[in-house]
Symmetry: C2
Subunit: 221 residues, 2 copies
DNA sequence: AAAATAGTGTTGTTTTTACAACAAAATGAG
DNA sequence: CTCATTTTGTTGTAAAAACAACACTATTTT
């Protein structure tokens, strides 16, 4: 099967063999689609019934308001999903946009089938549900972490909270972030130029160091 | 059973009869504990292995930083859970505090047992897993909604985003919020006095009206 | 009912951030 | 390599928020 080499290394299909993968793909009514850079994979307000799984490339989950302000909620890459919220069946429409950061290959799965497979005879249902749950928990954790960052009041505190988290996740005070400066400002919901000033202040104070997307948190406070 | 009347109306035990409830309680090694107002139910940094289910009262999920700034992440009440993140087994310790807002009765369930019951013979495992998943999805949604609020830059925008959400959830422009003004400021991560000023400005502009915890969103923009 | 506590609104000052506009540097496409 | 585009840093100004201090009101507690 064309996509098995990709699927087998995703969390959701982990531990499933090719035959099982194929059976599940049929069961979930999967379809594949490619997206160009900056193309919208999901548009806010869409009432789709599918969950997306990113198989190639990466995408930004965006929140855009009426005034055109863009806020990056989170970045999703290979093996990550978007749209799990739908599994609840209650959601009328998406509350955010999903926009390709680069050329993307996305697999869509029917949310209802994914959730209700328990009632089917599908052999690996327990596994998938467990994997789904695990992904959902990861998602939850990421959102909570972000809330802890955004609940800081100043740009400085937000930056430091974010860098601290990155360093912890990396288990290293040297780390690379997935954002350029403009994106980082959108991610932290702060003004880009004010952030730029603050970043360079932190650098001159010897608290952090950075070059491009490489950062070094020298003092955690 | 003493607690069945409470448990039967929680989401997690919905559709389980008294006998099944009892079996599951045994399986999950449940224990009960009461907490006074302002008492910490869970302390940040605790490496507990239990999930909490609120059976009476309500509690705040708090994020407190080194400087003593308090931010309310979310409010949990009857039937709601805290600590699902643990189900992933990867979490070393809690990242937030759970503090009783009033006198509380809390049921603790062993996270590992909850998650791995599939492998047991427990009759209702499918149901519980589905309920758990559903709660996790709710949780996810709440966190995303809050992120959408906190990603607004000004206090005014945060207030309006929050009120808009409340009105939508209530399906009514008149609604009651679970916070007093001080708590609302902590929830939105803004300065209380600045918020107070902004609130009264919005009122004088005829955009909102409020009295105590009762609000009316007159113009949604 | 009185006293203590918690909640709310107001003000002025200081600090921080947003915003806008620009210049320089880096990147990418042809 | 060159040109166009994107990214980054800088500055000054205006706006907003934080902070602190206080007065007043409402709510509990005793």
């Amino acid at each position: 099967m064309e996509y098995f080499s990709l699927l087998k290394s995703t969390k959701i299909f982990s531990d499933a063999n090719e035959f099982e993968c194929q059976a599940m793909m049929f069961c979930f009514k999967t379809r594949f689609k490619s997206f160009d850079k900056n193309e919208k994979i999901i548009t806010e307000g869409d009432s789709v019934s599918d969950v997306c799984l990113i198989l190639k490339g990466s995408a930004n989950i965006l929140n855009e308001d009426d005034l055109g302000n863009i806020s990056i909620i989170s970045r999703v890459g290979f093996g990550e999903v978007f749209g799990l919220e739908e599994l609840n069946n209650k959601m009328e429409c998406f509350k955010n946009n999903l926009v390709a950061k680069e050329k993307c290959l996305v697999m869509f799965m029917n949310a209802h089938r994914l959730m209700n497979m328990c009632e089917n005879k599908c052999k690996r249902h327990e596994l998938i549900i467990k994997n789904l749950m695990s992904m959902l928990l990861d998602n939850n954790k990421i959102l909570l972490e972000k809330l802890n960052i955004l609940s800081k009041k100043s740009t400085r505190e937000k930056l430091l909270a974010y860098f601290k988290l990155c360093a912890e996740k990396n288990d290293n005070t040297y780390f690379e972030i997935p954002f350029n400066k403009t994106e980082l400002a959108n991610y932290l919901s702060v003004d880009r130029s004010a952030m730029s000033t603050e970043l360079n202040k932190l650098k001159s104070e010897g608290i952090i160091d950075f070059d491009k997307k490489q950062y070094h948190l020298k003092k955690s406070q």
